[in-house]
């Protein structure tokens, strides 16, 4: 059996639909998980009662359990307590919860790395703790942690392949289903590798552009 380009072209519409689902799920989860990360890191650093403890527990729970189990929990576990989400949102929620924990830790580390003197200086200038966070802490923390934030986003895109187990027809699901029906494993697996590679490389590229712009004030 040799590499059949004609077959690949024939399957292109299906694969494109799958790729679109992968992009939608990942993009949604990237944005939401960053929001969780900011909220979580801020709660931890500002030592907001209850919220801070909640995020400690959340991060430990997510970091120390397999993503696959989390996905099944959202899909099969939540309905038993009355929460029935559509499949697409099951995928978004589980990926968001997973990446949110890592983004919380990334940003918390970034905030911790911002020099303590800056915090004291902000206080001396009369800035509130939230103003410090918004105007000084986070802008610097984001610049420091950009590589690890990107790293988590990359993992998120790659891990989005797991959502095919709950029936979401993403790129992996489409490709594996074609393999199951047409048995052209070489073509489909090549498409998978190329597809995810292209997605992740373009993500890395845009973050590099962003990093370049964010660093502009610090360059001479």
């Amino acid at each position: 059996m040799e590499f059949d380009v004609g077959y690949l072209l024939q399957q292109l519409p299906l694969l494109r639909a799958g790729l679109l689902v992968t992009i939608q799920v990942s993009a949604m989860a990237v944005v939401l998980s960053l929001a969780i990360g900011v909220l979580g890191a801020a709660s931890r650093v500002l030592r907001i009662p209850l919220l801070s403890q909640f995020f400690v527990g959340y991060v430990e729970l997510i970091r120390n359990t397999p993503l696959l189990v989390q996905i099944f929990f959202v899909f099969f576990g939540l309905p038993t307590i009355g929460v029935v989400l559509p499949i697409f949102w099951c995928g978004v929620l589980s990926l968001t919860l997973w990446a949110g924990a890592f983004q919380t830790e990334n940003l918390r580390g970034g905030l911790a790395a911002v020099s303590g003197g800056l915090n004291e200086a902000s206080r001396a200038l009369g800035l509130s703790r939230f103003q410090y966070l918004r105007l000084v802490g986070l802008p610097l923390a984001v610049r420091i942690t950009l590589p690890s934030l990107l790293n988590t986003c990359v993992s998120l895109v790659k891990n989005s392949a797991y959502v095919s187990v709950i029936g979401l027809q993403d790129l992996s699901a489409v490709a594996f289903e074609r393999i199951a029906n047409d048995f052209r494993a070489l073509e489909m697996l090549s498409v998978l590798l190329a597809g995810y590679l292209a997605l992740v490389l373009s993500l890395s590229f845009s973050v590099r552009v962003l990093e370049h712009r964010l660093q502009a004030p610090f360059r001479r």
Binding site: F76, I87, V165, G167, Q169, I179, A180, N181, A185
Partner: protein, 274 residues
């Protein structure tokens, strides 16, 4: 009395001996040197292949694999069983992880392009499992609804070919499909009737629709162009049938009230359906 018993025993021994002596073609050298049969079986398809109460492999198709090991190497233990899913079984075979599939494998033209099939050893139909209060009474009722099916199965192919564009939820294992059906994520679960009968008998909240579709033959799957191996497998299947082993295997794992379907599947001629 003693003499009668002795002669009965002698006749029985002769008859058994004759069955034993049924000539088998030679085992291919590669398999013989391996010293063990590597068979792909299902782990989620009772009564054909599933995990028994002790967590070990059980089911009619598992017994077939063990029996073939007995024919080949003189011991039912000379078999290395491997769990395969509907989706990964043919890739597993072609990647040489197993040497034969006895894995509820239906004979289809698409599959025949990439693997070879033995003589069929039974037939199998498809059906729909629905919740007891479901309005679905016949197959056509499911057309405008959301049907759960497993990727890469005969049913998925049938729906793709006959009702393209219908609403489906595609999962990987029957247990995922069942869970999704019970939670209302779909209106019906399409699957092998043989499997669904067991589930419906166990769960009062579910029933079968009872209209058979996508009827197919199940056969042993081998890699393309292994004629010597194929001849051996076909001889082994014929011998299992001649020794009437299927009945005992079915009775061992199927409750009496639903047993007839499976006995028919292995021995009665194939019915008609769409």
């Amino acid at each position: 009395m003693k003499r009668i018993l002795a002669s009965v025993a002698a006749v029985a021994a002769l008859w058994l001996g004759a069955a034993q002596a049924q000539p088998m073609p030679p085992l291919p050298a590669a398999i013989r040197d391996q010293g063990v049969l590597r068979a792909g079986v299902r782990c989620d398809q009772p009564p054909y292949g599933f995990r028994g109460a002790d967590g070990g492999y059980a089911g009619v198709e598992v017994e077939m694999a063990r029996q073939m090991a007995l024919y080949a190497f003189g011991s039912r233990d000379k078999v290395e069983l491997q769990c395969v899913t509907a989706e990964n079984r043919i890739p597993q075979l072609n990647a040489r992880r197993v040497d034969l599939l006895i894995a509820t494998l239906g004979v289809t033209p698409e599959r025949a392009r990439v693997i070879d099939f033995s003589e069929p050893y039974r037939w199998g139909g498809s059906d729909l499992l629905v919740r007891r209060d479901s309005p679905i009474r016949v197959l056509d009722d499911a057309r405008s609804r959301n049907v759960i099916m497993l990727r890469g199965t005969t049913q998925a192919l049938w729906f793709d070919a006959n009702w393209p564009g219908m609403n489906t939820l595609r999962l990987n294992t029957i247990s995922d499909g069942l869970q999704a059906l019970l939670q209302g994520r779909g209106d019906a679960l399409a699957g092998d009737a043989a499997t669904l009968i067991v589930i419906a008998a166990r769960d009062q909240n579910l029933r079968m629709v009872g209209e058979t579709f996508a009827l197919s033959d199940a056969a042993v799957g081998l890699r393309k162009n292994e004629p010597e191996w194929m001849a051996w497998i076909n001889a082994a299947l014929a011998r299992i049938k001649a020794e009437n082993l299927y009945t005992g295997w079915v009775e061992a794992v199927v409750a009496p009230d639903i047993r007839q379907y499976y006995l028919d599947a292995f021995s009665a001629p194939r019915p008609h359906s769409r």
